[in-house]
């Protein structure tokens, strides 16, 4: 499927699904709907032609294919038919610029791929391009965010190892999410991204909707957003509210986590001095030398454990939270786009109403006078006008039909993806928090062991001294 601009005709073959009121994770009940066409994975077509064909796979049927269960967010391991890894960052230096490429390795059994294994090299720009295409093709689907282009705060070198590693992981997650998505993973650009050699990708990028078409879209989108939507369905209002609050919470959590990392770094700075001071002291002592060295040793080991625990925080929890900060922005954009589509429909409806009113209105004096000035028969003029209006009205009606389908399509897509997104958000964040908590438990258990062993050695020593005292 090519990612055509969503202006073309939509004709989903399935009627509206029954959308349950509570969107926070309720599955769409699809089985009872006989009108559904259930598509098996193989028939996802390979021709980049009609938009119609691509839209046959409506969100409802697609989700049905993959049978999301509330209990297990992921498909059964056997069902996963595409595996992607992102690794091996490499630096490329040209006269104009320096950039990093990553190796993208794909293993798949999917029919639309000619081969079962692909190895390509991609740079961040390519990922940006892919995401842009996916969003264009599916404006109201929730496409996982990419890591940020720049890191503003802190003087993080673009080619700093940690930065590259964090980015690599995020890019991997992005591709995994796309691959998991029932609709997005069938996108043609996605396939090309994974399989094409560098030059192929470049030439493919040049295809697609032309500049003018894209410009037209943008203009319309801007116009729509200026207009604003009048009758937003309640369910989207509540999603909007949720997204606002969620975004705030994620931003807070992201900030808190970064603050903790900072405090821990400073803690480590001071802790570093602890062990050496005890070692220094042990140099002046005789009987206390061993205990003091033991103390220094214990503090040293705790220091190392603390370092490692800090790494977990910054390698695991922080990126997860930050990703969902970015997700919030994505969600806001998706809601905006949906609003714009609806706004366009509303505008067209308004235009239709105006034209109808115009048609049904009594002929106005001025208009007739004008026509007669131009040398036309007033009756003839009126008929011409009516004809023109009728034609315009018919045109509009057709457009509105298509737009209504489009709005319905957009709403369904969003609703379907919303539940999906919530589930994976829950799963992602639950996992991130769980592993952080686990890491903390491990950390304290390791430190506990250190101090217990020190205590043991100290008690042994004290009883030894007491024994010697008893003997003397």
């Amino acid at each position: 499927m090519s990612g055509n601009v969503a202006d073309s005709a939509i004709s989903p073959t399935s009627p509206t699904q029954t959308i349950p009121a509570d969107l926070s994770g309720q599955m769409l009940e699809l089985d009872e709907d006989d009108d559904l066409e259930v598509f098996s994975k193989d028939t996802t077509n390979t021709d980049g032609g009609s938009f119609n064909a691509s839209m046959q796979t409506s969100p409802g049927s697609m989700i049905n294919q993959y049978k999301f269960d509330e209990e297990d967010e992921e498909q059964e391991p056997g069902a996963k038919d595409i595996f992607i890894t992102v690794d091996d960052p490499e630096s490329h230096v040209t006269t104009i610029e320096t950039f990093i490429t990553y190796r993208v390795l794909t293993k798949t059994t999917r029919g639309e791929f000619d081969s079962s294994e692909y190895e390509v090299r991609r740079r961040y720009q390519d990922f940006l391009w892919l995401r842009g295409r996916l969003e264009e093709a599916h404006p109201t689907l929730i496409v996982h965010p990419l890591p940020e282009k720049f890191v503003m705060k802190g003087m993080v070198e673009r080619f700093n190892d940690d930065f590259i590693e964090t980015r690599r992981r995020a890019l991997h997650r992005f591709l995994d999410r796309v691959a998991d998505h029932p609709i997005l993973s069938c996108n043609e650009d996605f396939r090309v991204f994974l399989s094409a050699q560098a030059w192929e990708l470049t030439s493919h990028k040049k295809q697609g909707p032309g500049f003018l078409t894209r410009m037209g879209e943008t203009v319309r989108a801007v116009a729509a957003s200026v207009r604003g939507v009048k009758n937003r369905p309640e369910e989207f209002n509540s999603i909007q509210e949720y997204v606002e609050a969620f975004s705030q919470k994620m931003t807070s959590l992201d900030r808190i986590t970064q603050r903790i990392t900072k405090e821990e770094k400073e803690y480590l700075e001071e802790l570093k001095e602890y062990a050496p001071t005890y070692t220094l002291w042990s140099g002046s002592e005789e009987e206390l030398a061993e205990p003091l060295k033991g103390m220094a040793n214990s503090l040293d080991r705790c220091y190392q454990e603390t370092e490692e625990q800090g790494r977990q925080l910054s390698d695991c929890l922080a990126p997860a939270l930050h990703e969902y900060v970015l997700c919030s922005e994505t969600l806001k954009a998706v809601l905006r786009r949906r609003d714009n589509i609806q706004a366009e429909l509303e505008a067209k409806n308004e235009a239709l109403a105006t034209k109808r009113a115009d048609r049904d209105a009594e002929p106005r004096e001025r208009g007739v006078v004008w026509q007669s000035l131009l040398g036309k028969n007033p009756e003839e003029a009126r008929q011409l006008k009516q004809q023109r209006l009728a034609g315009e009205i018919d045109e509009l009606k057709e457009e509105i039909d298509k737009m209504e389908d489009r709005v319905e399509w957009a709403n369904n897509a969003l609703k379907g993806d919303w539940g999906r997104w919530q589930r994976s958000m829950r799963s992602d964040l639950k996992e991130a928090f769980l592993s952080t908590a686990q890491k903390n438990v491990d950390y304290y258990e390791k430190c506990l062991a250190v101090w217990e062993s020190f205590l043991l050695s100290m008690r042994a020593e004290v009883s030894e001294v007491d024994q010697r005292a008893g003997d003397s």
């Binding site: 802790l271 002046s284 639950k430 928090f433 205590l455």
Partner: protein, 435 residues
């Protein structure tokens, strides 16, 4: 265990088991086991602290803290009669007077230190204010510790001034000042700070002085680092409290995750709050270190005092040998050393035999005096050395024991902290699981 030269009648063995500097509660438990004289006879408590406000000499309002010292015969507890303790109030400055008296009276002993006058090595959360209730409480404990240390010292415990400090509230100050110790205290201070050179320094004391300097330096450093570490640890724990707040807010917009988040948030709050107890316990450890930091001063003072004695001895011996030489010169008539007398006699002629006779007799007398004085001084010095070294050995054993116990209690504290951490995060994990 200890180098017991046994010349004193005091039973010194068994002191090393005394642990008055340990965890507060332990102190009362270890009493009565093996102890010396006063410590065995008497239970000593610094039970309370109270603020007093009086008008002082210039009619201005002065606020200070007094401490209630309770004493009770030790066997009363075991007999089960439990009579009311005798008690009196003392303020910190009186403790200082007592200690100064002891320092002056027993210069060869390592006199236990008082808790600090002003809060030092504070980490920012703790107040450096002397009126702060936490500071007053820790000082109360420190003062009790001081009294117990003195009471368990083989020699100090027998001191009458110490005894009356514990038993007679009124008139004690006047009595102490009447002993005239203040003058000695001033000259002692001067001597401690004077610079002089000893020709044959005693190696042991020199080493001990060096050790006390090292110990002072390293414990100071340790206390500084500890304060900074405590500060940072506080920050780490407290920021986690924000998780609690945000989880709670977040749970309000979630349906499935709400409960899990809410309860996880409570655990984050608990985690953040737990650091207060942790750091308070650590203060006890810091106080134990501080006691030995202050002990180094006392140790150093003994070494310096010995140095001074040595110096004075050397000066006296020098003096004596000069006089003896003069005597010899007078006797033989040769002038080997330069003296004004010699020069004048050269210039103005020899003196009469009678004059010389008188001079020789005077010198003979002086030499005899000086020799006796030197002998006394030598004995004094020997006694000092013997007594001091005995006490230093006692102190060393006490220090080793106490510091080992301190390290043990630190480890116990860390273990407790780790266990708390394990519990909190395990609980949080369960909550996250429910998300």
């Amino acid at each position: 265990m200890m180098a017991d030269t046994g010349s004193e009648e005091v039973a010194v063995i068994g002191n090393t088991d005394l642990t008055p500097g340990e965890i507060e509660n332990n102190m009362k438990n270890t009493m009565g086991e093996k102890g010396t004289l006063l410590f065995r006879k008497m239970e000593i408590n610094v039970a309370e602290a109270e603020k007093r406000t009086v008008k002082n000499a210039v009619n201005m309002q002065e606020t200070y803290t007094v401490y209630l010292i309770e004493t009770r015969p030790a066997d009363a507890a075991s007999e089960g009669t439990n009579p009311a303790p005798d008690s009196l109030w003392r303020r910190y400055s009186e403790f200082e007077i007592l200690r100064n008296f002891l320092l002056v009276t027993y210069p060869h002993l390592v006199v236990p230190p008082l808790p600090e006058k002003r809060a030092e090595f504070v980490w920012h959360k703790l107040s450096a204010d002397n009126m702060d209730p936490d500071f007053v409480e820790r000082r109360r404990v420190g003062l009790e510790n001081f009294l117990l240390r003195v009471a368990s010292h083989p020699i100090l415990s027998t001191d009458h001034v110490f005894f009356t400090f514990l038993t007679e509230e009124d008139g004690w100050k006047e009595m102490v000042f009447e002993t005239g110790f203040q003058a000695k205290a001033d000259s002692r201070l001067k001597a401690l700070n004077a610079t002089f050179r000893v020709k044959n320094p005693d190696k042991r004391f020199a080493e001990m002085k060096h050790y006390s300097d090292e110990l002072q330096s390293v414990i100071s450093q340790l206390l500084r680092v500890r304060a900074r570490v405590a500060d940072r640890l506080y920050g780490v724990y407290k920021v986690h409290g924000n998780y609690g707040r945000v989880f709670s807010e977040w749970s309000a917009i979630e349906k499935e995750m709400g409960d899990g988040l809410q309860s996880a948030g409570h655990h984050m709050d608990a985690y953040a709050a737990s650091v207060d107890d942790i750091l308070e316990e650590e203060e006890h450890y810091a106080d134990q270190l501080k006691e030995y930091l202050f002990y180094t001063e006392a140790l150093r003072a003994v070494c310096r005092k010995h140095e001074l004695m040595q110096f004075e001895l050397e000066m006296a011996a020098q003096d004596l040998s000069t006089k003896k030489q003069q005597q010899e010169e007078l006797a033989t008539g040769t002038v080997r050393t330069f003296s004004l007398k010699g020069m004048t006699s050269k210039l103005f002629g020899q003196e009469t035999p009678e004059q010389r006779e008188a001079k020789m007799k005077a010198l003979e007398g002086q030499i005899q005096e000086d020799e006796d004085a030197l002998k006394d001084k030598n004995t004094e010095c020997d006694d000092f050395v013997r007594g001091a070294w005995l006490d230093i050995e006692r102190f060393k054993d006490q220090k080793n024991h106490d510091l080992k116990e301190a390290l043990i209690s630190y480890a116990i504290m860390q273990i407790s902290m780790c266990k708390k951490g394990i519990q909190v995060w395990t609980n949080a994990k369960e909550c996250f699981n429910k998300m």
